[in-house]
């Protein structure tokens, strides 16, 4: 008997497809909510993405009581406090996050304050602090990548102490994730590419890292198949709403996979690079993915080889000898990156980003060593290893 053991948890109702937004009033009413507040950012509002949400609610007689549209890309404790204040003043009773990772994380944190009380979100930082269900909460993702709609984590910057505060509790999970193709239809090409590659990395790392398990494997492989099939189609035809929906679903599926089986070195390096060089997360993921897979190769040969089926389809899989499949999976990902580079200049090396200097590599390596994602990388990473991977990713 093996020692294998795993846990899998995802209580988020997924509401996906055409006219999904129109289900919001029904869902909120079912949760006993009558006075929702929308948390979003200026970009989402400017893109006109709030209009269908508001229209869907008002047509059903559900008024949006308040809209906060000033969530910054890196949300802070001050912003959370401010939104919680408005929520209380306006006597709201539920939250709808419309946006990407930052808006969703902010709404999660606001939900802690308005449900548990107090003004200082830092008091709730850590794992297992929250013991009760929070207010009704829906998420409408507007990027297809982060998977935040199905993760039980939020990260908020404490501006006074300039540290990032993590919040972990299954109560942070929204009641429902509403995935409507209208929400990602206008996403610009480079963001579409970067966020899809973030989802691709979530699925690939979930499938190849230490905490992989049969249930998350199923979500991961399905997500990889959808991204491989749909990403370039969307890049060539941004208004292709069917394939937009495929990417959005893949992002949620990859989110379910990695929130249950974690990520590894790609994310550790990506988090450090994002913090030091201020590069978007998805871009870092796309950049490091093949280099890290090459580094982990001998430890993950079997699962990585299996992924070829989902990356390239049954014919390529069948005609590739089993002993070459892992390498072929890496080549497939490299090929996808080359295609993305052609279409939107998504960088493949640190040099191509134009925002990283070679002398920063050591700092990135050191910071990555302290990242939580290091724990689940299948290979024990030393500082020298991290440096070597960065060197290869340089140019």
């Amino acid at each position: 008997m093996t020692n294998q053991y795993y846990e899998f948890f995802c209580p988020v109702k997924v509401i996906a497809g055409k006219a999904a937004l129109e289900h919001i009033p029904y869902e909120l009413t079912g949760l006993g909510a009558k006075r929702p507040m929308i948390v979003t950012d200026k970009g989402v509002r400017a893109a006109g993405l709030l209009d269908p949400v508001i229209a869907a609610c008002e047509e059903s007689g559900l008024d949006i009581i308040s809209i906060y549209d000033d969530v910054p890309p890196d949300s802070s404790t001050g912003v959370v406090k401010e939104i919680a204040g408005i929520y209380r003043r306006e006597k709201c009773d539920s939250l709808i996050a419309v946006g990407g990772g930052s808006a969703i994380d902010t709404a999660k944190a606001v939900n802690i304050l308005v449900s548990e009380g107090g003004d200082n979100i830092a008091e709730y930082s850590g794992a297992g602090i929250i013991k009760h269900p929070l207010k009704p909460f829906l998420v409408v993702p507007t990027t297809a990548g982060t998977g935040s709609e199905v993760t039980s984590v939020a990260v908020i910057t404490d501006t006074a102490k300039s540290v990032k505060l993590p919040f972990t509790s299954s109560f942070l999970l929204p009641n429902a994730a509403v995935i409507d193709p209208r929400m990602t239809l206008t996403l610009p090409p480079h963001i579409t590419a970067a966020t899809a590659m973030d989802a691709m990395t979530h699925a690939t790392e979930a499938f190849t890292c230490m905490a992989k398990n049969p249930l998350s494997d199923a979500y991961a492989t399905a997500a990889i198949k959808k991204i491989s099939t749909s990403l370039l189609k969307v890049m060539d035809n941004p208004k292709d709403s069917d394939n937009r929906l495929e990417l959005a679903q893949a992002s949620t599926m990859a989110g379910i996979a990695f929130s249950n089986s974690m990520v590894g070195l790609v994310h550790a390096l990506g988090h450090a690079t994002g913090a030091i060089c201020h590069l978007p997360h998805g871009m870092c993921m796309s950049l490091y993915l093949p280099y890290v897979l090459e580094y982990n190769l001998e430890t993950i040969r079997a699962p990585l080889g299996e992924l070829l089926l989902y990356l390239e389809g049954p014919e390529v899989y069948a005609t590739t000898p089993a002993s070459r499949r892992a390498e072929a999976s890496i080549s497939a990902l490299r090929k996808l990156r080359d295609e993305l580079f052609k279409r939107c200049k998504l960088p493949r090396t640190l040099k191509e980003t134009g925002s990283v200097e070679e002398h920063q590599l050591d700092t990135i390596a050191e910071m990555a060593m302290d990242d939580g994602s290091m724990m689940f990388n299948p290979k024990e990473v030393t500082l020298e290893d991290a440096r070597a991977v960065l060197k290869r990713a340089w140019a």
Binding site: Y5, E7, G126, A127, G128, M210, E380
Partner: protein
């Protein structure tokens, strides 16, 4: 209470083993931190006075060490002098036993949701690396390979310390043989 009546010896032995192993690890951690540059380098990033605890939920055996500065650890045999900064908590004594009898790697135990981290996750990563290094020292190579993700190539430690730790280990592995069924 019911279970205690059914298998009293095995349960007691397992608890004793975990307690003993925590003591062995605590002492070894202090000893290794006085000698090994790799452990010192890792530990230096921890604040001075940093208290690390490994314990079995809800109120079982625990191991407490303090970073007293310059990469050195001090083992606290009793209770913690103040609230700990980082706590790694096994959900059940059975899980602690799996890890401390080297049947499950520490990182795998994390991956398998056997334990929780209360505190800064980056310190938890650092402590896991230190514990891996420690296990490679005190365990015979074969057992250590099972306990850590990778066996380090550069182990230089006085034979005296090694043999001392291995004596503890012998006691410990006798326990495993007794308890394993």
């Amino acid at each position: 209470m019911l279970a205690k009546r059914i298998q009293p010896m095995a349960f007691q032995a397992r608890r004793l083993y975990v307690e003993l192993m925590f003591q062995v690890m605590g002492r070894a951690l202090q000893a290794v931190s006085e000698i090994d540059a790799t452990v010192q380098k890792e530990a230096r990033a921890l604040p001075e006075g940093f208290l690390f605890e490994m314990m079995v939920m809800p109120d079982g055996p625990r191991l407490i060490v303090e970073h007293i500065g310059n990469g050195r650890f001090h083992y606290h045999s009793g209770s913690a002098p103040r609230p700990v900064d980082l706590s790694i908590q096994f959900k059940h004594i059975a899980h602690a036993f799996l890890v401390l009898s080297f049947q499950e790697k520490t990182a795998v135990a994390f991956a398998n949701d056997r334990m929780l981290v209360d505190g800064d996750i980056s310190y938890a990563i650092r402590m896991t690396r230190i514990l891996n290094r420690l296990e490679s020292f005190i365990l015979p190579r074969l057992v250590a390979k099972r306990a850590v993700k990778e066996y380090p190539a550069n182990l230089h430690l006085p034979e005296k310390l090694l043999s001392a730790a291995r004596i503890y280990l012998k006691v410990a592995s006798n326990f495993v043989d007794t308890v394993r069924t």
